[in-house]
């Protein structure tokens, strides 16, 4: 990939960081634990990379690494979203 391509990716990264800062500063302290577990589940987006690795046509070491990555990322995604929902269900107002 050329330098311009990398620059476009950095562009997206920097802007997303700013969006993240704007969004997260508005989350009240009472929701900080669900915020962590929920954002944790979002960081399981690496599952996209794991699928691409585990789904290669030929079976090589890349597939094995991809499979383990698949397990890790799925735990992260499934566990993260479910536990966040379990917590948020408990937050009630009088």
């Amino acid at each position: 990939m050329d330098a311009l391509g990398i620059l476009m990716l950095i562009y997206v990264f920097v802007l997303a960081i700013f969006v993240g800062f704007e969004l997260i500063t508005k989350v009240p302290p009472t929701l900080h634990t669900p915020l962590m577990s929920g954002s944790n589940a979002i960081s399981g987006i690496t599952i996209v990379g794991a699928i691409l690795s585990a789904g290669l046509e030929e079976f090589t070491i890349s597939t094995i690494l991809g499979l383990v990555a698949m397990v890790f990322a799925t735990i992260n995604v499934v566990g993260g979203f479910l536990v966040t929902d379990r917590m948020l269900k408990m937050f009630k107002k009088k």
Binding site: G49, G55, K93
Partner: protein
């Protein structure tokens, strides 16, 4: 097809952003979490349609193993175990990034249609470094929270120079890898050294500093996903990772502010490195007698109060006393007593730890007040009841310049008419210093395990 995939990734990114946005209120938070999960579902489904994905059996096996494990963890972990669980999930995220980067390396090495490019070599190195540090660092954090690894501050000579040396070693190896990416041993060295670095970076961090460590590792897990996005040139990963990275950094800063310490100070380990090196316990040690009460006497004091503020700390979590505390609140309220909760930002072992425990015990979230919202009201409070908190209510933080916790924002419980402190013993808190509050004329010690003590008090109140 490529266009459809990219558009779907855009939709998924928007859903992530809306999902987090709705986390700004407990009313919409659950829907927000659902939106984020929907975004993830879309991203997964369209990735399965990618032209490079040709075999599905390994993907399905991975889904089944990971999905079952994740579901079991999510439903079986008790609420008191949330810090450990979040720590572990951080680690899985980091581990996945590490493995994907390694997998990409072998793909480029073994298949002719993928070749090494300088920019990819740089991003693979970064992805391995961040992923590996997040992975082992989170496992150590999990071990500390679970009590498998010591919760003490671990120090040994040459600690920081050695860590710095390891980091430099990774950077140098990374440069070699960029120059000649065919060398397999270099990439394995980078992996091994990064894994060790993760262990050594988290090992020195003490138990009560875990809120900072967990937040920081949360941020790393996001950055690891972003780094993988750079490897795969995938905007979806970069955006999602950046959102999480920003979230972790903000929480880290809030936690550090709550302890009036710099991030450096926490990461390097322990209160001891703050300010003066000598122990302050001797000169500043408060003298005098403490007044201790039993449950009957205490019930009589509570009976005539009209405003009570409960201050929970890690001790409440350890004793699993949140349900007992809720019962106490119900009895007090049935007597017409106003009950609120004051939550210090660093109470517990992760951001928002106390809020989740009290939510589990069915305490309405509008009864929970952040430090800055309730601190000015303490002079109007009849009883401040402290359950398993210590350093965050130590008035020395306000006036004793020699105290290691000087300058840390504290809850002004000493301004209440009566302060009741429930503790198991007179032992010091995490900072290792005596708490002069216990010797104040308006302070009463109520010794005992948090749950037993609160249950007894509730019982006595019912009879009063």
């Amino acid at each position: 097809m490529k266009i459809i995939i990219e558009i779907s990734y855009l939709v998924a990114s928007i859903l992530f952003i809306f999902g987090i946005k709705q986390l700004s209120s407990p009313k919409t938070a659950r829907k927000g979490n659902f939106l984020a999960a929907l975004g993830m579902f879309i991203a997964i489904v369209v990735t399965l349609l990618d032209q490079h994905v040709l075999t599905y059996e390994w993907i399905i096996i991975g889904f089944i193993i990971g999905g079952t494990t994740g579901t079991l963890m999510a439903f079986k972990t008790p609420m008191t175990g949330m810090p450990q669980m979040v720590g572990l999930l951080n680690g899985f995220g980091g581990g996945a990034s590490l493995l994907v980067a390694l997998s990409e390396f072998y793909k480029m090495k073994n298949f002719a249609q993928w070749s090494f490019a300088t920019s990819t070599n740089v991003t693979v190195t970064l992805s391995i470094l961040i992923g590996a540090v997040t992975f082992t660092g989170s496992l150590i954090a999990f071990g500390k929270l679970q009590g498998i690894v010591t919760g003490k501050v671990v120090k040994y000579p040459g600690q920081h120079p050695f860590n710095l040396f390891l980091l430099i070693a990774v950077v140098i190896a990374g440069v070699f890898f960029v120059v000649d990416p065919s060398l397999e041993w270099i990439i394995l060295t980078i992996t091994a050294v990064s894994l060790v670095l993760g262990i050594l970076l988290v090992l020195p961090i003490g138990g009560a500093d875990m809120p900072v460590a967990i937040s920081l590792l949360n941020s790393y897990s996001g950055l690891a996903a972003s780094a993988t996005g750079f490897v795969l040139q995938n905007n979806q990963l970069i955006i999602a990772g950046a959102l999480v990275g920003a979230s972790g950094i903000i929480l880290t800063m809030i936690m550090c502010k709550g302890m009036n310490r710099s991030l450096m100070n926490v990461v390097l380990g322990g209160w001891a490195s703050a300010g003066g090196s000598g122990p302050t316990a001797e000169g500043a040690s408060p003298k005098g007698d403490v007044k201790s009460v039993d449950s009957e006497e205490l019930a009589m004091i509570f009976d005539v109060a009209s405003k009570v503020v409960i201050v929970p700390g890690y001790g409440m979590a350890v004793a699993q006393a949140q349900h007992a505390v809720r019962d106490l609140m119900n009895v007090l309220e049935s007597k017409g007593i106003n009950v609120r909760y004051a939550i210090h930002p660093v109470a517990g072992r992760m951001p928002g730890h106390m809020n989740v425990l009290l939510a589990e015990a069915n305490v309405a979230y509008d009864k929970l007040y952040a430090m800055e919202d309730i601190n000015d009201d303490f002079p109007n409070v009849d009883i401040a009841l402290i359950i398993g908190a210590n350093d965050v209510v130590n008035p020395a933080a306000r006036h004793d310049q020699n105290s290691p916790i000087f300058g840390m924002p504290i809850l002004n419980v000493d301004y209440a008419k009566t302060v009741v402190i429930n503790k198991r013993s007179m032992n010091v808190g995490y900072a290792g210093i005596d708490n002069e509050l216990f010797f104040y004329p308006n302070a009463l010690m109520y010794f005992g395990d948090a749950r037993d003590a609160i249950v007894k008090l509730t019982h006595a109140l019912k009879e009063a």
